[in-house]
Amino acid sequence: MRKLLLSLLVVALCTPMMAGAKKQADKDTQQFRYDIECAGNAVQGTYLVKVWSYSKKANIAENQCRKNAVHGVIFKGYGGGQGCVSQRPMANMPGVETQYKEYFDSFFAEGGEYQKYASIIEGSTEVVKVGKEYKVGKIVSVRKDELRKALEAAGIIKGLNSGF
């Protein structure tokens, strides 16, 4: 009986904490606060990017890196230099994010489709404390060919052979 009460107490205490963490994560995700840079030449069909995500909690920033990498490839692009080639954003028409808000809300939702297109390179994590928050850097491999095909299929971007 005591064990049961203890378990219930633990659950009751943890739930608001988890909900708070999720809320913080959602807030940071919605803002898409990150920097993206080239991390080297990747294998065919992928981009290798380094993403720096910001949050008050290091683990949240860490979790956001995959999402931010995909977001960056679609909407931001990144600069080149030192053997790296700069890339234009995949969806470079103004207002595209707002125009397809419903699609992207579901795409970038927790456990959303974005996960299919990004994987973290193990051992690439860097954590820097900047004032009251953490800046977490990770190298992410983004499967850009598959991502482009998905966006073309959804009618968000045009294929090279569209109109012919």
Partner: protein
């Protein structure tokens, strides 16, 4: 009933076909500078001057790196549903065609007539040319690859876009590995430029240039300042261009009584019958207009490639 359905189906097919623009053909060729610096050229005597002309056949037969680069670019373009036209196959076809033409004779022993201009037009096979160059550079024990891929519109010879850069230095990687790496890293940027070009072409037509000249002492006794209904011929030509170019886009670069030069002329990709047109086709439409009432001006159209035409007025 069956006939009705068949006619309806045919109309639907024609409608779908006419709504689409002919897919431009793209071909990769090694650049002149690459061919010459690697010894793949032949020397041609031209009016007392020796000119180096790239020998693509020799380059393809002797340089494995070139074949690998073309295969890799083709692979990446095919992935975007845009397979390339093969340079090697085109060269073989031209050779085969030339051999067949040489063997073709009429019963009375006459050979086929082909002017040098016909041959130039026959050789211009692709709509877009991708010119490829690369060079290895050594920095002590390390070496890196400098790479340029430039897309050119075969109609106007204008650059559509290019991707260029020097890769990260490496000690162990050989030229083929570095070349493949450079192509993979740079191809998306070039495709973005191609995409911009295609969008522009679909929106505002193909770009050509048009020269109008007059035969001296022609039988009609006209020049570009001759008046028809109170208007000079050159102004009437301009009015025709205004009506027949996409959004009235063209520039009168120069005009005199004997010569008028129109540049940045944006022609529709298709004529009213749904056929793809180039500078030659567009020039023929113009001459047809001025052959009729009230002008009755005979004219000759000279083909100068896909994107340039010369019309000579006064005689055929």
């Amino acid at each position: 009933m069956k006939k009705y359905i068949f006619t309806l189906a045919m109309m639907l097919v024609a409608l779908v076909a006419s709504a689409q623009i002919k897919k431009p053909e793209i071909m990769v060729i090694p650049s002149d500078v690459w061919c010459i610096s690697n010894g793949y050229y032949t020397e041609v005597e031209n009016m007392g001057m020796t000119t180096k002309v790239p020998n693509y056949k020799q380059a393809l037969q002797e340089n494995m790196g070139l074949k690998l680069a073309i295969a890799k670019i083709n692979d990446l373009m095919a992935e975007r549903q845009f397979p390339l036209k093969s340079l090697e196959q085109t060269l073989k076809n031209i050779e085969q065609q030339r051999m067949e033409d040489n063997l073709t004779m009429s019963k009375s022993g006459n050979e086929l007539a082909e002017s040098p201009l016909d041959e130039v037009a026959r050789m211009a096979k692709a709509d877009i040319i991708l010119e490829l160059s690369w060079e290895m550079k050594d920095f002590g024990p390390k070496h890196s690859l400098t790479y340029i891929l430039e897309a050119r519109d075969a109609y106007t010879a204008k650059t559509i876009g290019s991707s260029a850069g020097t890769g990260a230095p490496s000690i162990s990687a050989d030229v083929d590995v570095l070349l493949e790496e450079a192509i993979v890293a740079n191809m998306d940027n070039l495709n973005n430029r191609l995409m911009d070009h295609f969008t522009e072409m679909q929106n505002i037509g193909r770009e050509i240039s048009l020269d109008i000249k007059v035969f001296a002492n022609n039988s009609r006794g006209i020049d570009l300042e001759s008046e028809f209904g109170g208007e000079e011929l050159v102004d009437l030509i301009e009015t025709w261009l205004q009506l027949n170019t996409v959004q009235g886009r063209f520039t009168r670069e120069y005009s005199s009584e004997n010569v008028a030069r129109f540049t940045q002329v944006r022609i529709p990709v298709y004529d009213e019958r749904g056929r793809a047109i180039d500078a030659n086709g567009f020039a023929k439409q113009l001459t047809k207009h001025f052959k009729g009432e009230p002008f009755y001006i005979p004219a000759k159209v000279l083909v100068k490639g896909l994107g340039r035409a010369v019309i000579v007025l006064g005689e055929k």
